[in-house]
């Protein structure tokens, strides 16, 4: 089957007087694994549901392939959706659940059975075909819900927080399986999550949403390395944000913090903005002063195993620093006066 892309054009959506989506524009390529990432209330689930046809009709256009689906009934869209709660019907066996959509499409029984078997095979659960949903574990229910959706060969696959009801170890396993399945089927897939690790590990590209607005779109690495704004910088991983100003001196540019400490900026870096973003692993703690270093005092220390995380008062704020830990090395004590050496080669000024 030909892969379909999704184009979202200037989509607005309100629940009563609250505007939940405020002009969303987005293009998802055919066959792409795309994540909507954002905190709760950011509008990511609302956008997904609007694509599936649930909730109030949005303004704007949602194109699947070349077809504008806004205003179409959910049952005519041929969009597959997996629900956060899985929504397996408790009164039907696994087989009947998976076969439901095929029956609705008036397929002859002789064709339904092999297709259901193939779908169950795909998720490795053929042996559970005659069970009832309440006899399955969470992970199994999840996979049945997936089989039920892909068996009807939808044009796109929508996953609404599919891993949030699973425990941590199962979540890691399931997200690999989701990715494997997506690659195998080549289905254009949207994955809604509030968990950046899930989005980072699975998606080809992702969109970070906040307040009903898309903040940035790109590959996980692009978004982490070059966040477009402070929200994205803070939402993806831990970010230290120091206030100050950029000073340009010929070809050299440097960032001067509120406390007056200069940090040299790489060539070609953005030269306007009043904040610099430093990731905790790009700072090291030393005893001696040096270039690109800030004076500070260790406020707090957490031993995390592979790393030690310090909270250091420096540059007019509190800075998180991660130092890798090796056996027998004690690191610095709380209260110690230290210098923070910033590696600014990848620093972003916003």
């Amino acid at each position: 089957m030909e892969k379909k892309g999704i184009k979202i054009e200037d989509v607005h959506l309100s629940f009563g007087s609250t505007e939940v989506l405020k002009g969303v524009n987005l293009e998802i390529k055919p066959g792409e694994f795309f994540a909507f990432l954002g905190p709760s209330g950011s509008g990511k689930s609302t956008l997904l549901r609007a694509i599936a046809g649930f909730g109030p009709d949005p303004r704007g256009r949602i194109l699947i392939g070349n077809r504008d689906v806004v205003g179409m009934s959910p049952w005519t869209r041929n969009v597959g959706m997996v629900f956060q709660s899985y929504a397996l019907w408790p009164h039907m066996s696994v087989r009947d659940n998976v076969g439901f959509g095929l029956k609705e499409r008036k397929l002859p029984t002789s064709q339904i059975r092999p297709k259901v078997d193939a779908a169950l095979d795909l998720v490795d659960l053929s042996h559970l075909a005659d069970r009832m949903p309440n006899q399955l574990s969470g992970g199994q229910q999840q996979r049945i819900a997936l089989a039920r959706t892909v068996v009807v060969e939808p044009e796109v696959l929508l996953l609404d927080e599919p891993l949030s009801n699973l425990d941590a170890s199962l979540r890691v396993q399931m997200r690999r399986e989701l990715l494997r399945l997506q690659r195998q089927l080549g289905l254009t897939t949207i994955f809604v999550t509030h968990d950046q690790e899930e989005a980072n590990t699975t998606s080809d590209r992702m969109a970070v949403l906040d307040g009903g607005v898309i903040q940035q779109v790109g590959t996980p690495q692009e978004l982490y390395d070059t966040p477009a704004n402070l929200f994205v910088a803070n939402f993806l991983g831990t970010a230290n944000i120091l206030e100050g100003r950029v000073e340009v001196d010929g070809a050299d540019a440097r960032f001067v913090t509120k406390t007056g400490d200069p940090l040299s900026l790489p060539k070609g870096a953005v030269t306007s903005g009043s904040n610099i973003v430093l990731r905790p692993q790009n700072i090291s703690i030393t005893k001696k002063a040096g270039a690109n270093a800030l004076e500070g005092k260790i406020l707090h220390k957490e031993f995390l195993g592979s790393q030690i995380r310090y909270l250091v008062a420096a540059g007019g704020t509190e800075i998180v620093v991660d130092q890798s830990h090796s056996a027998g090395v004690d690191g610095f004590d709380t209260g110690a006066l230290v210098h923070l050496q910033a590696n600014t080669s990848g620093a972003v000024v916003l």
Partner: protein, 583 residues
């Protein structure tokens, strides 16, 4: 100093010298549990067992026999009665479903401004004893009632709504459909919207979606409601009696006992059949529902998606709802008209209006009303006392057999009023009341006790719910501060349960006040009769119908006030608890 005995040791008491198994260490709660058990055995188990035994006894010799059942099924009248009872119950379920399904569907599925109205009006039939409405229904839907007169005058045909069994079916389904409505609506609301959305996502919609997903998921609630309707109709005595339909099981049992006497075995055989059917239908619905807890609402889910109606759909929905509500309210409207009417016969409406019926009613039924207050008061008071005690014993103690106590009290639900009445007659006619010497079976106290047993399951549920809301920690706090068990119950537990207990009292009182099927068996003289029996007496003569209707209105008002009061009490209690402790 004596050399022979130690002076500091006291002589052991008698109890200490007996073997320990003869003098078990009983706490106050144990004694209360035993007393309640004895009461339930004496007033529920023994009378029902008595009925069962007599059904299997040769009336002359007392030997065990199946002959009574052979005789029963040998009689054409009894075979017909059995079939009629079954047919009427089944058809009542069908008609009640036809009334309840659209209401439940419209209110839970759509944004419909009348939803609250329907949900509350849906309860109205329950606040009127069905037999009270029966006469009014006769005047509206009967052969010469309002509807048929209009039909005949304008279209030249009439519909036999109230002829024979049809009348019973119509009255019963209008009265009992709320059981289906309440249960079905609750089930529908408990379906998570993703259940429905998943089906839409896979290409299903409309009626097909309702048939394949929504209704099957609501099935457990529907079955629970339908089973209740079936049993209630199967056991009901008042309605067929008032509509003069005697070829059904409950009226036959009543007529055999009241006309032939308490030694006639047929009444007992019918009782056995009534009980067996009650238990079977409860069991069948239980079997069906086992493992089918489909309540699927997720946190933040909020039931199936509601849709806004299009104008044409809205008109259709309002039309359906108004039609059903008119039907449902027809007994009330009819009763009101009848109570204020002068003569109402062969006319769509009464000839004139008057207050005379209320005056006649008041003069003729002061005794009935006083008796009702006395009986229902005694029954409801005992119900909440026993209910509280059982609830406490079941939830907070590990007394041996406490579950059995709960089951025994609840078992009264499966015992039809007629059966309990017959059981009391049979059991207590052999005893005399102390001091006065009259036979116990015709003593008014027995009526109050029968009502108490009949309403105990409801009061017990209310008390159990109330106790479950009282945190165990509150009790433990009192005990750790030095209060004894008894003081703790008195000073902490019962005061905190007050709302629930009061609600239980009011419900028990209001419904006991209009109970007919057990009381009609036990009333031995009109002086001892309660209100429900009074209405029955009034309604026997055409001239008494107006006053009977007026008394019926009184009954409706009593139950309505009771229902509203218990709702208010429960709500206020909830608010109080919510504001005092946030857990």
């Amino acid at each position: 100093m004596s050399l022979t005995s130690s002076s500091d040791g006291q002589r052991p008491g008698l109890a200490d010298r007996l073997p320990s198994w003869l003098v078990p260490n009983l706490s106050g709660l144990h004694i209360i549990a035993i007393m309640i058990a004895l009461l339930l055995i004496g007033l529920l188990l023994v009378p029902v067992a008595q009925v069962m035994i007599v059904a299997f006894q040769d009336p002359a010799t007392g030997a065990a026999t199946l002959q009574n059942f052979v005789d029963f099924f040998g009689s054409a009248l009894f075979r017909e009665s059995s079939w009629n009872s079954f047919y009427v119950s089944a058809m009542s379920v069908v008609v009640a479903t036809a009334i309840a399904l659209p209401l439940a569907y419209i209110t839970t599925r759509f944004h419909f401004s009348g939803s609250i109205l329907i949900q509350s009006l849906g309860f109205i039939p329950l606040i009127m004893p069905p037999f009270v409405g029966a006469v009014a229904m006769q005047l509206i839907f009967g052969r010469n009632g309002t509807v048929n007169l209009i039909l005949r005058d304008n279209f030249g045909f009439s519909i036999p709504f109230m002829e024979g069994l049809n009348g019973v079916i119509l009255v019963q389904s209008i009265h009992y459909f709320p059981f289906i409505l309440i249960n079905l609506s609750a089930s529908l609301r408990n379906i998570d919207r993703s259940m429905e959305e998943a089906a839409q996502n896979l290409g299903s919609h409309g009626l097909r979606l309702f048939r394949r997903i929504v209704f099957p998921l609501a099935m457990p609630g529907y079955i629970a409601g339908a089973a209740l309707v079936f049993i209630k109709v199967f056991d009901d005595l008042g309605t067929p009696l008032l509509l003069n339909v005697n070829n059904m099981l409950a009226p036959q049992a009543f007529l055999r006992i009241s006309s032939i006497g308490i030694s006639d075995p047929m009444g007992y055989v019918i009782s056995v059949i009534l009980v067996v059917f009650s238990v079977l239908s409860l069991w069948a619905s239980f079997l069906f529902m086992r493992g089918k807890d489909y309540a699927t609402v997720q946190k933040g889910g909020g039931g199936i998606a509601k849709r806004t109606l299009k104008p044409a759909e809205k008109a259709l929905a309002y039309g359906t709802v108004i039609f059903i509500l008119l039907l449902v309210l027809s007994p009330h409207i009819g009763l009101l008209l009848l109570s204020f009417g002068t003569i109402w016969s062969f006319a769509p409406l009464p000839d004139g209006y008057t207050l005379q019926n209320y005056i006649t009613m008041w003069e003729g039924s002061k005794t009935f009303i006083m008796n009702t207050i006395l009986y229902a008061g005694i029954a409801a008071t005992l119900d909440v006392i026993i209910g509280t005690a059982i609830a406490y014993i079941v939830i907070r103690t590990n007394i041996f057999g406490r579950k059995a106590l709960d089951y025994l009290a609840t078992a009264a639900l499966a015992v039809p009023g007629v059966v309990l009445g017959i059981g009391y007659l049979r059991t207590f006619h052999q005893f005399d009341v102390p001091f006065t010497g009259e036979p116990m079976a015709s003593w008014w106290v027995i009526i109050a006790l029968a009502l108490m047993i009949r309403r105990l399951p409801y009061a017990l549920r209310a008390c159990t719910a109330a106790l479950q809301q009282v945190s165990l920690a509150l009790e433990e706090a009192a005990e750790s501060l030095g209060a004894t068990k008894r003081r703790t119950i008195q000073k902490v537990v019962v005061p905190l349960m007050t709302g629930g207990i009061l609600a239980g009292f009011v419900t028990s009182f209001a419904t006991a006040a209009v109970e007919l099927s057990a009381t009609i068996m036990l009333v031995s003289s009109n002086n001892d009769a309660p209100l429900a029996y009074g209405i029955y007496l009034f309604m026997q003569t055409p001239s008494g119908r107006g006053a009977g209707a007026a008394l019926g209105i009184v009954a409706v008002i009593v139950v309505a006030i009771g229902t509203i009061a218990s709702q208010i009490i429960i709500e206020r209690d909830k608010k109080l608890k919510a504001s005092s402790g946030d857990h």
